[in-house]
Structures are given as C-alpha cells and as structure tokens.
Amino acid sequence: MHLSGRYAHDKRRIDLQLWGVLCLDKPREALLRTELLSSLDENVSRFRALLSDSVNADAQFRFIFCSGARLCVVYIEGMADDKKINDFILRACVRHQAAPGTRIDASYLLGNVLEIAQCEREQRVFRILASLVTGMTAILIDGSEEAILLETRGYPARQVNRTTNESVVIGAQEGFVESLRTNMTLMRRYVPSPNLITERISVGSVVPIQMVLVYLRDVADEAVVDAVRRRLKGVDARTVQGLGAIQQHIEDQPWALLPQMLQTERPDRAASCVMDGQVAMLAENSPYALIAPITLFHQLHASDDSFSRWQYGTFLRLIRIVGMLISVLLPGLYIALTDYHMHLLPLSLLGSIAEARANVPFPIVIEILIMEFSFYLINEAGTRIPQQIGSALGIVGALILGQAAVSASIISPILIIIVAITGLGNYAIPDYGFGIGLVICRLFVIACGASFGLYGFCLAAFVLSVSLCGMKSFGFPYMAPVAPARPHNPDLLVRLPIWLQRKAMYFAARRRHVENQKG
C-alpha cells in the first residue's frame, strides 16, 4: 500500500504523547514531562497549576483520609459521575479500616478499598492529566509515587435514538450518538464476534480526540488497517474537530470533489462494512462512523437494499442511480440541447419550451443558474432555520420557485420542472457529502454544456469519468470492481438474491490472500 509522505508520522512525537505540550508555557510544559513525587502536596500543587485551579471552577481537589493515609481525589466536575465518586471512592475510602501497620499505597487501595471495576496505576503526569479531562478520577496518595486512575466518566450524553439523515423503511432504526463508548457498544452488539477489534487511537497534538478503529481480525486486510492507523497517527494538527476533520486529514485525494470515505450514522451499516473487511472509525463527539476503503458504489447503496427482497432492493437502487445521473447531467443536457441543438428536440417539445420562454427576459443559462442558486439557498436556509418557523420557509420556497417566478416571467415553467427533478435526484442519494460533491459536478456540466453544447457535455462527462477512475480510497480504485474489473457479488447496480452473494469483498484479507497466491 502506497502512502504519501504527509502520512509518515513523527515517531518521537507520538511516542512521547506530550499531550498539551504546544499550548503550555515553559514551566508548565516542564511539569507535564515529569512523573509523580512522593509528596502529596507537591503533586497536588502541580495539578493545580496544570489545571489552572485558581481560575478554573470545575477542577475539584478533595482531600480525604483512608485508615490514616492522606489522599487527594482529583476530578473535573460535570465530566465525572458524582454518584460514582461519592459511593465507590469517597465513602469506600473514608469508611475503610485497614489493619494496623498496613501501608496504604496504590496496590492496597486497588485490592481492598476501591469499588470501581476499571482502574489503573499511573506515574506520568501528562497521562493523568489527559485522563482527568476526559472524566476519569485520579487519586493521589501521600507518600506514593503512583496515582490511581478510575473510570468515572459520567457526563450527560444523548440516548441512542433514531437516525436523522439515513432513515430506512425496513431495518434497524437506531443510530450512533456522540458518546464513543456507546458507539463501541453498538458496534459490539451488531458484530458479536471475538475477532472484532476496537483499537484506541488519539489524534491531535493540542486538544486530542479519542478515536477507535473497528475492524474484524482476519477479515480486514492488515495492510489497510495499518494504512489507516499510520495516517491517523500522522495527522499533523493541533486540534481535530470530529470525524469530518479526520476525514479531510487522511483521505487520498483532498482536492477531489467526491468523498473517498463513507460517513454513516447507522451502526448496522457500519457493522456490515466491518464484516465486509472494511475499517470503521469512531470518535468521541461524532455521532457517525467513518468507513474506509470504499468505492463509488458504497455511496449509492442504502441499508434498505439489503433488508428488502432482492426485486425491491434492485428497483430502489436503480431509481437511486437514475436519480444520481439526472442530478449530475440533466440541467447540463437541457442547456446544451436548448441552446445549441434544437434539432435534437422533437418539434412539439421545442414548441412548448419556446412558448414557455417567450416572455422570459434571461438567456437559458442565466435562468438555470438563478433557479439552481435559489434552490440551494432554500436548501441551506432550510437546514439552518429553527424548526418553529420551518413551515414559513416552505411557503417562501414554493412561492419563489413556483408561482411567483413564473407569473413574473422570470423563469419558464419547464425549467422549474427540470430543477425540481434534478433536486429530487440529488435527494435520492443516501450520502450527504457525496450529494454535495455531485452538485458541484453538476455546475461543471452546466458550464460545459452552456459553453460548447453537446460537445462540452460529452467533454464534461468524459473528464468526470476519468477523474472518478483515477480516484483511490486507501489505495483501492474508487470505481472498482467495475473499472478495474474485479470479481464481485451481483450487488452493484442491481442487487440479485442474497444467496448468490457468496464472495468476500475484493479488498477483504482472505480474497487478497487468494489473489496474491494466484498472482
């Protein structure tokens, strides 16, 4: 697998995991590099300095005694679960009576006092600090150079709910949420296999984000997993805002219009991809998964296709593909035909178009651009508008795009039909990012069609097809298994019966192993 230089990560930096090193002043940076001392007061003062306790209201330092030993419980209010801290840390420590002469240290507390399952010992200051800000609790012990990190994360999070952007008629309805742990649980539920690997990775140098790679051992190609791992570790950014930013950092062709990774908010879809040998990425605060590698056809498939009987699935998929083609090509074709190739329109249709346009003051290209712009304006406004006044937008949109524009002779009725069909075609595409990419492609086709007629239209179609065929997703051709042709299940443009689909995906480990042997 070929990886370009920008993904080759700085080994030293990653190994040190100097979290926060770039945003701290020199003295605090020096503190971060240290390990714990045996003096509790000294340790606490270090953490007070690092957490800016004098101005930070939510950093909590609670001194308690456990069988005479002095401890300090450190946590961030709101991120950690108060109930867990009260019931299983504070109460357990304060009430515990150790045998006389017992030395109270980290191992003793872990073995005899603390009633929380997930705990670990840690000496490095930056590790402890990184855990604190994610909601864990640290116990600093007087006379000990080790702290205990306890899993007490309990911040408020949204419950697992219905998907909002990838609705299906038949099939599971739940979607990913912002909590990484919940999302991992969802993946475990959908792929109940001991081979399912959830590998934690931290991305970002100043404010890191916790990520998890999810893949199926022996099914996912190790080279692909390694490529994903290396690219993630090689992300050279101070902060990363969720999976959307990650995607931009690690995709093969950042200049390409279409995404080379799949975003899905459906755990069942992510699980299906994982079982096909792809790698899913989950991140804290991102209510969706990122899948790689993918092909164009993944962007056109929806969960409904697999849940429905094959006849229905095939029909729906064909409708979607026709929708995509209409979305990209129809306005460009319309403008090419009406501006340059009137002889290719039957006279009755041409008469209708000409009569409808008789009072329109703009050339067709301006008319179509006005309509496209209005359409996206309403689309974007509809996304941002508060729900309470959403219905008003519908009225405005219907009036602008419909009756008013036609009555004022600004737009011809036939163009409204063209733009409406184009818009519908775009909405039939399951992937939001892919849909926006196609809209930009459409503008390119419109520009070429308006400039050179069918010659320009064909030129645009040709350039787009070459661009698509030149794209790669983690080294795998974007248009595979059609171009290049690779053995595949009858599940691309049409979805034939499920019992005919016996082949592993062409980028799954087992398949590649067999291919390599043949090669």
């Binding site: 069918l454 010659y455 097809s465 070459v466 059609v482 090669g519």
Partner: protein, 341 residues
Amino acid sequence: MKLRIAHDAAAAAAFVAAAARIFVGLALDSVPIHNGVWIAALLGALPAIPYLLCLEAVQAEAQPNRPAYRMLMLLLASVALLDASEVLSVVAKTSEYLTINHVPLTVLTVPVALAALWCICRNGDAVGYAAMLWIRVFPVLLMLVLLLQLPHLHVRWLQPRLGDGWRAIANGGVRTAGWFVPSTAILFVSDRGGALPAKHVSRAWLACAALVTAPLLALRLMMAPTVVRNASWLFNLDALLTNGRAPLYLQLPMILIWFVGLLHLLSCDCFAATALLQRLFPAIDGRACAALVVLGTALLSIHDFSVALNRSAAPWVFILAASIVGLYVLVLRDSKGGEHR
C-alpha cells in the same frame, strides 16, 4: 511523475480506441468501398493480431538502450501523435458542424486538448479504467440507437456487395490495419505486472474491437447505396449519426457515442505518445512530456497538412511498423539462440 498503466487498463483503452478509430476511419476517411466496408474492417484485423503478438514479444524483452528498440518507440510515438492530431481535428470539426460554428476552430481545439492533458496527468490507469467504464455504457447507447432507428433501418442493405471490388476492399483492409497501430502503442507501454494479468487479453480485446465496429458499420451500411454521388464529409456525418432518414432528434445517443469514443481515442493516443516520450527521455518529467505532446497534437491538428499526411500514410504505417517489429523479433530470436549456444 512516472507515467504508467496497468495491462488490463491498457487493453480496455486500446479496445475503445481501436473500435473508434476503425469506425471513424471507415465511415469518414476511407475511399468509397460501399457495402464492403465490414469486410475491410475484418480484413484489417487479421494482420493486426500477428503484429500484436510480435509487439508483445518485443515488449517482454524490453531493451530500452538498443537503437532498434528506441527506433520502434519513436515510430510508435510519432504514429500516436499524428493519429491524435487527426482525431483532435475531427473532434473540433465535428463540434463545429454540430452548431458551434461561430467560433474559430482553435477555440474548439483548446478545451479538448486541456481535457487530454488533464487525463494524462491523472495517469494511465485513470485513462484505461475510464475506457473500461464506458465499455459498459456504450452497448446501452448502441442498443438505444438501434431501437430508436429500427423503423428506418433496412436489413436488405446489409447484403454484402463488394462495391468497387476486391482491390478497394484490400486497400480499406490495409488502412484498417494501419489504424490499429496507434492503438497498440498503449499496450506497448503497459505494465504487465498488474494485479490480474490475463493471458492474451490484449489480442482478444483487439479482435473484439474489429467485431464491435460491426453494429456501428451496420448503421453506416443501412443507407441506400449511393455510388453515383461523391457524398461530402458533412453529409456523411449526418447520415452516420441518424442513418440519414431517421428524425434528427434520434441523433442524441449517436452523438454521445461519437464524442466520447473520440475523446477516449484521443486520450489513449496522447497517453501512449507521452509515455513513449518519457521512456525515450527518462529525465523529462511526465507532466512536461504530457504538455509537450498535447501542445504538439494541438498544433498539428490545426494544419490540414498533417491531417492529410496521416490519412494518406495510413496504409504505410502498418507496413512500416509491422516490418520493424517483425525484424526485431527475428533479431531477438537469433540473439537468444546465440546465448543458448
């Protein structure tokens, strides 16, 4: 940038290019051979296969430092460049005819040259796999053409007639063989260590290319034989696109096949010429080679002289290329035998 193309991608590109070239050549450029046009297409494919076998043998024993090998590369690059210039000229003139007749021909040449440059810079796999993609689309469009024009097609006109006789057909056959040569250049630069190397795939593709032109040529044939009149090029194009008698609005799928096929042919020719140029002068960057080739193609296409030269040279191209390749294979065999001894 190193220009490379996988063998399966090159085979697909060569297939589309050969089919498009034979169709364009026999439909527009060839001397009138009337209903014998399909015989000429098949006749031309026959010598192309042994030629390709020899070319593959030469490619397998790549000896870039040998003068004869470099001469062969130079010949193939020149042929591809000349062919590209003619194709570019046909694309521009066709678009001019199809109503963009208010602008100079150069303006119509520039965007397609830019598109070719863009395609080469995406590297060979993009060019070849795009051809592989369109191979799935073309039959649908062709079927659409046949269905739409069915009432206007007269099967009895497919009856083989030899037109001006065997001499004219043989001439067409040799020209057809000559049109194969630029298409094979891309196979010559292909990387045979691809993921799924298929034996004889290129030969099979090329043989198919000759057969695929049959339905296209059938459309061409299903015009009433007009041997009295020397039909002009433009009249030929209209007749080609709609069979002359079908309504003009049925031209649409045929125009799409026409333009996209020609664009593939152009990008295939340009890529082959660029890759050969880079192999001849490895110090030059791929993008610079691409720019040189595209610029050369555009300049040549503007002058009718080069286009006329390419047309008149078509029969000789095959003879020359086949002779060089054949001699090279003989020399290769002798030198191998010497080593054994």
